[in-house]
Amino acid sequence: MSSDKFAVPASEILRQLELCQITDVVTVPDYVQISVHRSLAEGKMPDTRVIQCSTENEVITVAAGLYIGGRRPIAIMQNQGMYASLNALRAVGLDARLPLLLLVGQFAREFSNLGHDPKTSSRALVRNTERLLDALEVPYFRLESATDAPLISKAQELCLEREGPVVVLVGAHTGWD
């Protein structure tokens, strides 16, 4: 079984980042979004800076610093990274109430779960990602197919409006087109 049917093309994600006027991508790379990382590395968004961090905690704080300084960053990481950066997310997003847009890949989501509710995944890492966000009262959107890509723009509007984090969960490996 492949995940192609559920893939959001990298080109479509980059198009959404352009629509959102993203100035900086702050990241510890995501296995799910390798094609996005590759497109960025190939210079498909030449006016957007890519900042590699050592940990996802730093992704959160660097993105916060960029925002305070007047930039429009997006944080890209895996679900594992989101778990790892919870305290930074709490401090920056929930207590400091700084807008933060995150694109988080559902690493290790079994292909047989695609097209179904991720909360029913057999894997704890996957099924608890949304539950964690629910517990933190952080809104999220699911990218489950190419037609969901505009949710990235919607997520950005929401994070600016609510002055807090909003997560876009990338459910399947992003496409190579």
Binding site: Q52, C53, V59, T61, I68, R71, A88, V92, A96
Partner: protein, 214 residues
């Protein structure tokens, strides 16, 4: 040997320029706001480990300004990889102070951090690619070099051996327990972030007005 933390603060405050953004955390925060009040001060609280990342983001966003990060040893240990993250971006306007007192909860509990007294943050910073890094344990040498340290292109790390200022708050005990954390401690970073943003917007607006007048 070591230097009183507040004395280090006085040295930095004397040379701080009005346009400098300062991100502080832990013990350095305690004197900064008294010695160098500014709408461009940002407390990284309560988030140990976050100061370097926050400062890096600001430095990259505002290459027209110096960004000074006043970090703690325990705080930096939590995100030691941030040295590589900073070095990888090579922000020339980034100056990273590390106040090394060797303890967590300075004055209140003085619990030793791992490898207290053994860590050479300056050496680690150079090994990750910081352009310059220095260590100071005497006031005279720090004062002599401070002007150069602040003017040279970064990223620069300045590791300072500070004492734990025991006299400032006294050890916590049954009769002198640690206090409740107020709401303001949780909202402070956000409040100050918004103050910084407003100050930067006003500066930019003034700059545009001034350019038009010219």
């Amino acid at each position: 040997m070591s230097i009183p933390s507040r004395t280090v603060g006085e040295v930095i405050a004397r040379r701080r320029e009005a346009n400098d953004i300062i991100v502080s955390t832990m013990s350095a925060m305690r004197w900064l706001y008294e010695l160098s009040p500014s709408p461009l001060n940002l407390a990284c609280v309560p988030l140990m480990g976050g100061a370097a990342g926050l400062g890096l983001g600001l430095a990259l966003a505002r290459p027209d300004r110096r960004v000074l990060v006043l970090d703690g040893d325990g705080s930096l240990l939590m995100q030691l990889g941030s040295l590589a993250t900073v070095a990888g971006q090579e922000p020339s306007n980034f100056i990273h102070f590390v106040f090394d007192n060797g303890v967590w909860f300075e004055g209140g509990a003085d619990l030793k951090i791992p490898a207290a007294g053994k860590i050479d943050f300056a050496a680690i910073a150079l090994a990750t690619g910081y352009h310059k890094a220095h260590r100071y344990s005497t006031l005279t040498s720090l004062e002599t070099d401070m002007e150069t340290l602040l003017q040279q292109p970064g990223p620069t790390l300045i590791h300072i051996d500070v004492d734990d200022s025991r006299s400032e708050r006294g050890p916590w005990s049954r009769d002198n327990p640690q206090g409740e954390i107020p709401d303001s401690q949780l909202t402070r970073m956000g409040d100050e972030a918004r103050t910084v943003m407003q100050a930067l917007r006003e500066y930019d607006a003034d700059d545009v007005t001034h350019s038009k007048e010219i």
